[in-house]
Every structure is written in C-alpha cells, then in structure tokens.
Symmetry: C2
Subunit: 369 residues, 2 copies
C-alpha cells in the first residue's frame, strides 16, 4: 500500500506504447504534463528506441520494455505471453513490495481494456473486502459538473454486494479527485415502465440504504439513464453490461448528432456562411462537451492505482488521464478505498434480506481485519 | 385474430384520456389523422364530456369510459379497480371474439406504460410461442433510417429464448411498418472490455444463429450501444433493463446537449446575432432528430395490436403514434408476428447448448400448432 503519498512527489508509471498511436501521442502528453506539474515524476515504459526523445528529460526515467500488447491481442496473450510488455511492466511498477512501498504511485495505459484489467488484477490483486475490481469514468452533466459511473464493463453479472462495493469505491474516487467527502450515490434502475428492477437491484438498494444508515455512504436512491446527464447524483452504480451499453449509447448518439450538425452546416453556400458566423459559439459548445476532457477511467479495487486512457486518445486527452491519475495518487485514493470499504463493511449488520421470498439470502459482508 | 385487414378500412381504438395532456392533445391529433387517412376509422374512448368536440366527426365513433388511469396509478389500480377506464375499454376493443374478429384493428394510448402493458396482457393474452410481450420503439440512425430497439422495459430478466422471440417479433414489425421483409437483427452486447457478455447473451447468439441458419431470421451478429445510432442493424434486441437504460441515457444526453447549445447562443449580444443567422440550419437539424417523429412504441407478442405514445406527447407526436398503429394494422402486423414465430420455432431443432458447461441446458422451443 502506498504510504503518505501527499508528503512526497507523485510518481506515475506510463505505458508509452499502448493505444492506437503509441509514443507519438504519449510522449508529447508526458512532456506537457511534466511542464505543468513540477511536483511530478514519470517513469516511461516502452521500447527504448521509441522513447529516445525523452532520454534526457528532467524528473523522468525510461524503462525499456521489449514487447507491446496490441489493441487486438487476446487477454491470454497479454497475460501469459507478453510478460515484458510495456503494459505489464508499467503495472509491475505500482505493485507494493513487502514493506508496502511501490516504485510508482499510479500507472496509466491507453492499451486494450480487457488486457489492462486482467494484467492489473493478476499483478496487483484485489483489496480486502473487494470481490471484483470495477472501471469508473466520468461524464459531463447539466450542472456543469461530472457524474462518475461504474462499472463500465469489467463485470457482466453483478450481485447486490458488488454494487455496494462499487458505490463505496466510487465515493472514495470522487472524494479523492473532486474533494467531495460525501458524494451522493444513485443506483441505476428503470422507471415505472415495469416492476422496478430485478431482484439484484432491489437487494442492492437495501444494502445501500443500510450503508447510508450507518453513515458510511450518501445514498441518493434510484436513478434512471437520463440522470447520468441531469447530475442527480455524483456517482451512478450499475453492472458492467448496463454501464458499458449506456456509455456506448451516449458515444453513438453524440457521434450521430455531431455528424448531422456538420452536414446541415455544409448543405449549401448560405448554410456555410451561417457556419462561419456560428463557429465561435459552436466551438465553445464543443469544448464544453469535449469527451477528451473526461479521459482517464479508474480501475478501482486493486492494491495499486491503474488508470486507463481511451485507446484513440490524442496528446491532450492522454494528458487528462495523467492528470486524473496524478490527482488520485496525490490525494491518497488507494488508502481511501481501503479505509472506506473496511469501515462500511464493518458497520453493516449481518442481515437477512427479504428481497426474494422464495429464496431468502443471508448477506454476510466480508469484513477486513 | 384480425382477418385480412388490408382489404377493409383500418379502425383504431384511441384512449383519448391517457398521457399528461389527455383530450387536449389526443383530439387534435385524431382530427389531423382522420383528415390525412381517408381509409381510416377511429373509435374514441374517454369521458363523454371531454369528447364532445368529436361527437359529429365523420368516420368516428365515441365510446364513453367513465374512469381514467392516471399516470401515477399503480398497475394494480389500472388492472383491478378501473375496469371502465378509457385505457381498459380501448384495449377491450381490439380483443378478438370467438370468430377471431375484433371491433378495432389496433389501439393507441399515451397512458402509463406499466398499466397499459398489464391491462393489454390481461385482456388480450400472449400469442402462441411468445412467453412475454415486449415493447419496441424506433430511434433515428446515421443512415437516415430507423433502428428498432426492443425490449424497452417490459422484461427485466430475459432468457435467451425471450431474446430470440424479441428478434422474431421485431423482424415482423419492421417488415410490416417499413416494408423490409428480411430486416437484420443485432444482439446488444459489450465490447472487448470484458468476456463478451453474459451466458444468457452467448446462448441467445446461438439461438439467433440457428434461426438464421434455418432461413427465418437475418442475424447480423453482436452490436454495441453506439450501433443504435450507426444503423449497423435494422433491429437491436436486448433485455428490458438494458434497453430502458439505453433509451433514457440517449434522452438524457439529447436534453443536456440541447440545453447547452441554447445557453451558448444566449450568452451575449454577439452570440444572439449568431443564433439568428444559424437559426434555419439549427431548425433543420432539430427537425431531423425530433424525437416526436419516432413516437409510438409497439407492444408486441399480444393477441391484438397495442401502441403506446409517450406520455408527454403533443398533438404532432400523438398523430405519429396513430400513424404507426395504422401502418402496422394495415400491413397485418398481428398475423406476421404469429406466422413468423410459428415458422421460426418449428424450423429450429430441439438442441442442447454447450454455452454453460457446468450446467448444460436443453432448449426446447415451444412449438405452435
């Protein structure tokens, strides 16, 4: 476990070869990041020849990794056959030694998500009290803030207990990165169109209410898909299948609307003139919803901090992922997750939930020592 | 079962009291609809005093229903206590008699979705071969066409067999309303970020492949959330929880972007002038993605055609729901669903799927006589 990271410089390990563009994007991003963060150090991991430009940068060290996990590589390839990949070696750097110290405070990669999660899980292991790590990202909302959503695809079938763990981990993330100590948590559900939610969702709501009653969680209640963007809650928890579909649906709609608006402004000479006049306004709008600003998903629940950049990130976007990892490490995210999970589970009574009458389940929270 | 509806006038039963606005929206919509469809007849169901303006309209009959299912009414109230509601009486009108004839060919309501589904299921029952009715709607896509998505919330936990039934019903809908006899079907799944999908999704893919192999379905394969808007497949099937979240996420993002773009154009005098210049282009764009144009979800799998309008629909939107119900009835949607389900299930071998090795399940399609 990292110890008192806020008292010393934050050091990030960067997988410089991951993503669609590799070093041509990651190096400029790292250079800009170093310039903006005089307290930061970087360990750049990748093929030595690709990292030559960074050989003499200040506060920066280069680690040669001869292999690269390609975007199309199967998880097994990343895990078993490429043990000297830049991804694997970057994750290795955040693994704590027996004294609880690690070479880096967090690592950032734009590589294949499935591979990064598998490698991180294998190398770092999960924290006590966490059954499964989750992927959390932020999306902009109408209150000009961010909504943190998790899980986004790491877990396709979640139990109520997993959703509770996601809620606690998300709360730790928002507390660390945004400084809100008691962020509100919404449980993603569906509207009055059907019996509200599955048995899992109903049981999760009971667990979240119990955690809230013990003062360890700020549970807002059920939310619906549109609330990702209304900002009804700081954090929205859901299983990875649903979260992934919601995220990709939003990306697909944004892409379509963007394509349509371009087509409309290019329709004829008159609309092209209108485009020129409207350009500054449209650019302002575009900057406000620019998804690159929200780049950098957190892999939560591991014994080390790992951040995932979008594979297609450009240098600006990759730098945002570095920023998020830096903020999380500087504000002790790892310890925060550990402490919140321990405290929440300890405070919850071992209880029998009546959610499923035919098959009542005894929920025994896993307590950490 | 309705018989040869294309040979006679199409008659729709309209719940005139449903939705947020009741008769003040439904009556103008019905009037406009009648003017545009000289082959159509309407049966308007609602409180007699509210329907007075329509008392003497041609091709139109008024049925007095003393009760109204309110938007907040529980399903039980609609089902058990308001047996003379406009919703219930409108649905009653599409129920076939012993000779297979019904007073109306389809019914349309803007009432509470949960109540409408429950009442429709109770009154009409499901078609042979269908375990659960589903809700299908269309969304615009980048190919300037529509993507039909189902289920949207009627079923929160779906089996692979349910997803197959949704695929067949969706195909019948698109064939009837859009005239595409072999529309493509995509199975909503998540990307390479995790083991691809749950066991249910994997088994559903096997069933869909088997149906495609027998020539009864055009299975496109897996799709992701963004494909709702890329138009990769004509139909996308998913369980009701996921479909509902996807739909609401899209609504939420659209609302946020619309609010942001308005704010940007209202920022100062200069941006307001830009808005004036850009207005015609923006209006054209708005019309293109106007969700009112896609209003009218189909409740599929029942022994009668029921269409659901958005509760907040205005007269223009409600008229679109009437149009969709009219097209579906005129093109024999009910018979199409019946025949497609029968043919698909008959053609599929009783098979054992190896999807779950620990617990192999024998899939026995329910055959219709």
């Amino acid at each position: 476990m990292s110890q008192g990271v806020s008292l010393r410089q934050v050091r990030l390990a960067v997988d410089c070869m991951g993503g669609d563009h590799g070093a041509s994007v990651t190096l400029p991003a790292c250079k800009a990041f170093l310039a903006r963060h005089p307290q930061a150090e970087l360990i750049l991991v990748g093929r030595a020849e690709a990292l030559l430009p960074a050989a003499h940068w200040a506060r920066c060290r280069v680690v040669d990794a001869p292999e690269v996990v390609e975007m199309h590589d199967a998880i097994e390839v990343a895990l078993r056959r490429k043990k000297r990949s830049s991804m694997r070696m970057a994750v290795d750097l955040v693994k704590p030694d027996d004294a609880g110290l690690s070479a880096a405070d967090a690592c950032v990669s734009a590589g294949n998500t499935g591979a990064l999660m598998a490698v991180s899980r294998y190398v770092l292991k999960t924290l006590e009290g966490i059954d499964r790590p989750a992927i959390a990202t932020v999306m902009p909302n109408q209150r000009d803030g961010y909504t943190t959503v998790l899980d986004l695809g790491a877990n396709v079938d979640c139990t109520a207990e997993h959703l509770l763990q996601f809620a606690v981990m998300g709360s730790a993330l928002v507390a660390a990165v945004e400084g809100k100590e008691q962020p509100s948590v919404g449980l993603l559900n569906i509207g009055e169109e059907a019996i509200k939610g599955s048995d899992t969702i109903k049981r999760a709501a009971e667990l979240l209410r119990a955690a809230a009653a013990s003062g360890h969680l700020n549970f807002h209640g059920n939310v619906e898909g549109n609330d990702i963007f209304t900002g009804a809650a700081d954090i929205i928890v859901c299983d990875g299948f649903v979260g992934n579909v919601a995220l990709k649906t939003a990306e697909g709609l944004a892409a379509m609307l963007s394509a349509f608006i371009k087509q409309e402004f290019k329709r004829n000479l008159l609309t092209k003139v209108a485009a020129l006049v409207a350009m500054p306004v449209l650019n302002h709008f575009k900057a406000r919803v620019d998804h690159r600003r929200y780049n950098g998903a957190a892999l939560l629940g591991l014994r080390g901090l790992v951040f995932k950049s979008h594979g297609s990130a450009d240098a600006f976007a990759f730098e945002q992922a570095l920023n998020r990892a830096y903020d999380a490490a500087r504000n002790g995210l790892l310890d925060r997750v550990h402490v919140r999970i321990r405290d929440t589970l300890q405070a919850m009574p071992t209880q029998t939930l009546a959610g499923d009458n035919d098959n009542p389940k005894t929920i025994t929270p896993r307590l950490t020592a």
